[in-house]
């Protein structure tokens, strides 16, 4: 994959389990780490197909779809049952009122990355030119820092950063703190932090997307996240806390 698509970095994103089969997803990146990622999926880890980037329309439609993935990329969901308006709009424009599972897959992966894709603080730096690189000087978080939610950031366009008070902003270092921290995630407590193996590994599990697991070995450069699950958002979260 790395050779064919000329990616600089390729990694295994995770696995979405459908009813009849599972989708294995890989992501690849070019030099700019903050650029939209190219995603590929495969049913058997041998043949990979590129997924088109997600459009807003796809995201909006996919949020309406509930239930498990089927495991067949060409499976079509009948939109008419779910959202009559969207179906009407589509028929007017001459297309069939269905949405393919592939589109749902794209939208789901994009949502997961956007909402719960996290990195430790300091792992990425932003240059004055705006492009984002890995910080080669990143030695890992210390054990104390690793237990705090504020040491982890969402790896997407920051939403809350501008809302912080001037006092807080003064403490921030613009080269490393250019992303949203996890502390202010709504609802509070939607992350579970655990130390495993006697404190050698920090594991964060998202409760919003059940199955997203992030790991980090403190004082080393190792970190990453992976998704193993059904691909459904946990909308019952407020009731469960």
């Amino acid at each position: 994959l790395q050779r064919d698509y000329r990616f600089e970095r390729v990694w295994f994103w995770g696995c979405i389990q459908g009813l009849r089969g599972a989708y294995y997803i890989a992501e690849g990146l070019g030099p700019n780490r903050a650029a939209p990622r190219s995603r590929l999926y495969s049913l058997n880890c041998l043949d990979w197909s590129l997924l088109t980037p997600a459009t807003k329309e796809m995201l909006a439609l996919a949020e309406q779809l509930k239930g498990r993935f089927q495991g067949d990329p060409s499976f079509e969901y009948n939109l008419a049952e779910i959202n009559a308006e969207a179906a009407a709009r589509l028929t007017e424009s001459g297309r069939e009122p269905v949405i393919k599972e592939e589109a749902r897959l794209i939208a789901t992966i994009e949502q997961i990355d956007r909402e719960v894709g996290i990195v430790p603080r300091g792992a990425f730096v932003k240059t004055p030119l705006g492009s984002v690189h890995e910080n080669r000087h990143f030695e890992g978080l210390s054990l104390l820092e690793a237990k705090k939610l504020s040491s982890y950031f969402h790896f997407t366009e920051p939403v809350n950063l501008k809302n912080k008070t001037l006092l807080e902003k003064a403490d921030l270092d613009p080269s490393t703190d250019f992303l949203d921290s996890l502390e202010h995630d709504i609802p509070r407590g939607s992350w579970s932090i655990q130390l495993e193996k006697g404190g050698t590994v920090v594991v964060l599990r998202s409760l919003l997307w059940l199955g997203l697991t992030f790991y980090h070995v403190p004082m080393t450069k190792q970190f990453g996240y992976v998704y193993f699950g059904t691909g459904e958002k946990n909308l019952d979260l407020p009731f469960m806390l």
């Binding site: 389990q17 009813l19 009849r20 509930k66 239930g67 498990r68 080669r136 000087h137 054990l143 407590g189 579970s192 655990q194 130390l195 193996k197 006697g198 404190g199 050698t200 599990r205 409760l207 059940l210 059904t230 909308l235 019952d236 009731f239 469960m240 806390l241």
Partner: protein, 544 residues
Amino acid sequence: EHGPYQPHEPGYGLDQPGYSPYEDEIPDPQARMLAIKNAKAYLLKTSTRSGLNLYDHFANILTKILDEQPTNTVDIIEDISKDVKWAQFRKKMDTLRDEHLILPTFEAAEKCKALFVKEVGEEEREELDEEMPSLPNVMETAFYFEQAGIGLDKDESYYIFLSLKNLINVQPIQTCRFWGKILGLEMNYIIAEVQLHEGEGGEEEETAEEEEEAVAEGEKEMGEAEEEEGEEKEKEAEPPKSTYKPPPEIPKEENGTGTNKYIYFVCNEPGKPWVKLPPVTPAQIVCARKIKKFFTGRLDAPIVSFPPFPGNEANYLRAQIARISAGTHVSPTGFYQFANEDEEEEEGDAYEENPEFEPPPVIEMVESLATWAHHVKGILKQGRCVWINPSQKSEENEEEEDEEEEDKEEEGEEQQEERGLPLLTLISEDEGMKNIPAWTAQASTNLIPQYSVAILQSNRWPGAYAFASGRKFDNIYFGWGHKYSPESHTPTLPPPAQAEYPSGPGITETVDPTVEEEIAFRIAQEEALAGEEEEGEEEEVEDD
């Protein structure tokens, strides 16, 4: 902190000979040396905050750069500078603090070390092979599940193996099995399913009976008090007594049968002591069906929910374990058979291994769900595996009450007898939700069919897996402990407020007429009467 490098900052260019603003005033070289010394003195000026000075700091940075020779130095120069400062800082801290922190890693390792220590008396015990309980081969099970991509880290599996061995040594256990792992917010639960030797669960039964007697006595006392008060009713007017009687409590199933067939031990991490979970009551199961809550990892945490859950997290955990076991524990069809042919009805609880079982090939196990069967009884709506008529139990308490009330209660409490599915039903009869089948079956690998293992994933309880390979099979659970529902979870609404007594003219309060109004009314009545008399007289006159 850094030297001035912007043109507008004061002192810019001072440290470069030949560029100072006072140049025209210092023509001769001696003064230039002085300027250089001034510049150096400036660099050596100690910062008031951290005790460092710029000169030494630059020297350290340059030394470090020349030693390490990193690539693209100019890009990371600020980080190098910070690192040098950090290194200085740390040295100071070391002289202040003498004690070293006990790493949490060390503490955890201590606990795990205890698992590895072999007891001295074990060699004597090994002679009693007949009564040795069967230790489950956790590593073997973990290997099979690993073929499917499910399971724990090998190290963790081994720790669990050792802690199960410890559990067996401590408790009088007949059979033991690693049930699975439930994730929680702060800590996780590792769960072992256990059957104790007969008679060992006796302590709990006694306390349960004592509780029941106490409750019955309490009700009897209340009944007597009611009688006494009934006699006194004639003497004093009392506020009306509430005729509400809570529905009789459905008794929990005996230890060793139904939902309480197995006893469960949990621990947060291997190496920590095992805690026994209390047996589950039907009320807890009924309530657990209605709520959906994450586990925190602490057994004594309260469950705040509506409807209010009768118990704390230990009870909720036990209820979920019971539901998961009832819903997802399967085995290949024919592996178990009924001990007694007559007992095929729901009453039959006993099954035993079928010695003539021929395992079907893996392909068949994957393609047809009829090759798997439940071997745990399903839980009825009542919360038990065997239905019980609650009005039978309350007969004792009804003797002291009026007969009328008795009749009303019996009419209201007549519940439908619930019938569950018989014990060894095939899982192909499990209902799906909407268009989602209840189970998904796969073979672990398509490439090497001789050694592939049949894997079953439950869609109703995501996280429950079962594997079968020849005569070996097992069930396991790794997950958050919640059932899958295609719709969002809606908590039950509180019951509507009880309707007030309908207000009509009969009980509506009216303002009492005032004295003047009464007098006026009486006068009007008398006038009317007088008027009628006059009319009557007139009529009489007319008749004449």
